[in-house]
Amino acid sequence: MDQSLSSQFVNLLAALLLLLAFAMLAQRRVLTLIKLFAWQGAALTASTLIMAYATGQGHLYYSATLTLLLKVILIPWILHRLIDQLQIRWDIETLINIPVTMLVGIGLAIFAFALATPISEMAGSLTRATLGIAMASVLLSFLMMIVRRKAVPQVIGFLAMENSLFFAATSATYGMPLVVELGVALDVLVGTFIFGIFFFHIRDEFESLDIRHMEKLKED
């Protein structure tokens, strides 16, 4: 596979990641949200694999495997189990309606692209065009965490943000050192477990996963 073809594939997968970020932003159902998150992980795995093959960086294979195991299989499975146990299959409530969220998302994407253009002009790597897309995905995940009212979608937003950061790292510098990646991956895994425990505590305390209840500091 020559450089330009693999670069095109990575660009395509980057566009797919951005599309999935927007789809998650527009999604109303928790189950579909988890599926989209798993797809995002799959796109990430594919792009990391292509990058590993094209650049001959061996450690990227490990991180691709790690992504596949953790973000496509394990974390979606944990989230599925969590929402089964919590018995939450409601539609997601958003603070602002979805078309407006999408328009704000376009604004964020333009901002991220404008921000990334001078940086990626300096970079000489195979995938410099994807840095802007990675930054846009990070900002979109932030937006998702802001506009969602319930705890589970916010956590998925956080995990999606980690996906985008990982993509930014691989696209800008061909990936972080393996030790760092392992550390981050474990952090995310442990984080998911802790969030799971938090969900139960939040629900026991407020009988709802609506985080608005947490704004009240004391009993009225």
């Binding site: 660009n11 599309l19 692209f113």
Partner: protein, 316 residues
């Protein structure tokens, strides 16, 4: 530069589109019937319907104004003009410089405005309702359509559909994420603009859910036939725009008679595929509530904008 062979090509294409458009509709209907386990109507059914309608006497309401009478002809004329501009069989047609993609969207908008005016002209409740909904869909679909066309225009550096097709058709194959975004957005606009299923149901008999059908309830006989025909040409024109933008290979150049059989075969294959795909989509999807239509079309707009953005980024 306008020479006889080019003009002959123009006439050939215009006549061909008008004659073949009901066939495409018949093919899509046939595929849909197969997919839904019904016995399929003849592929020629739209022609029989048109012939039947042309033989009937027109009934027109007493309070109908000239707008009502003139609208079927305006709609048919607009669609025919659009079909002459889009490179269906050949590029470099003498008509093509008459309008670029923005004017093309304008031609479609003109037909829409007239049909909405005619729907309100009689003063029935359903006409007004249909016109209002049609304008809602239209004003949301047009920007999305323009974004899709701008993406292709940025890539080829021209808003002339002709140049776009030649640039896209003759460059070496490359995976272009911006065109992928634009293709999905275009598909959504096509469904909305042609009153197909997620937005409107073309076979519905429920007046309350109608959009396009509600506007033409008052029409009969030759007027209805012209409108139905115009709708078929519109679908044909949209599909050929999609083909021109995203899979332009195999198109002939005006005056090159040798390339014509290949162009015909390529077009027939692509349209057969597109018609079957449309039927499949209409079978898989359910009609959206009207109030979800803005969400559907804003998604199309979003994809169009993302197409333009990724084009700039990838070129960066």
């Amino acid at each position: 530069m306008i020479d006889a062979p080019a003009i002959a090509f123009q006439i050939l294409q215009s006549v061909f589109v008008v004659l073949a458009a009901p066939l495409l509709l018949g093919w899509a209907n046939q595929c849909r019937a197969w997919l839904q386990n019904r016995s399929a109507p003849s592929i020629l059914l739209p022609y029989y319907t048109l012939a039947k309608l042309f033989h009937k006497d027109a009934v027109i309401a007493h309070n109908a104004s000239a707008v009502f009478r003139v609208t079927p002809y305006v709609m048919f004329g607009c669609m025919w003009l659009a079909a002459g501009i889009v490179p269906v069989l050949a590029t470099d047609l003498p008509f093509a410089p008459a309008a670029d993609i923005i004017a093309l969207v304008g031609v479609f908008a003109l037909a829409r405005v007239f049909s909405a005016l005619a729907a309100m002209d009689i003063g029935t409740a359903f006409g007004g309702l249909g016109a209002r909904r049609e304008m809602l869909i239209g004003f949301l679909a047009e920007p999305a359509m323009l974004m899709v066309l701008f993406t292709a225009a940025f890539i080829s550096g021209s808003t002339q559909l002709n140049t776009i097709v030649e640039t896209l058709g003759h460059r070496e194959f490359a995976i272009d994420p911006s065109l992928a975004f634009a293709a999905v957005a275009f598909l959504m606009v096509l469904l909305a603009e042609n009153a197909r299923i997620p937005i409107d149901n073309p076979t519905t008999h429920l007046e309350l859910t109608m959009i396009h059908e509600a506007m033409i309830l008052e029409y009969s006989a030759r007027h209805l036939a012209l409108i139905e025909w115009a709708v078929a040409i519109k679908l044909f024109a949209y599909m050929t725009i999609g083909i021109a933008l995203f899979v332009p290979w195999g198109i002939a150049e005006a005056g090159n008679w040798g390339a014509l059989p290949l162009a015909f075969a390529a077009l027939a294959a692509k349209l057969a595929f597109a018609g079957a795909g449309l039927a499949l989509l209409e079978t898989l999807l359910a009609k959206l509530r009207l109030f979800l239509a803005p969400e559907f079309l804003s998604t199309a707009f979003l994809l169009g904008v993302l197409g333009i953005l990724t084009h700039f980024l990838a070129r960066g």
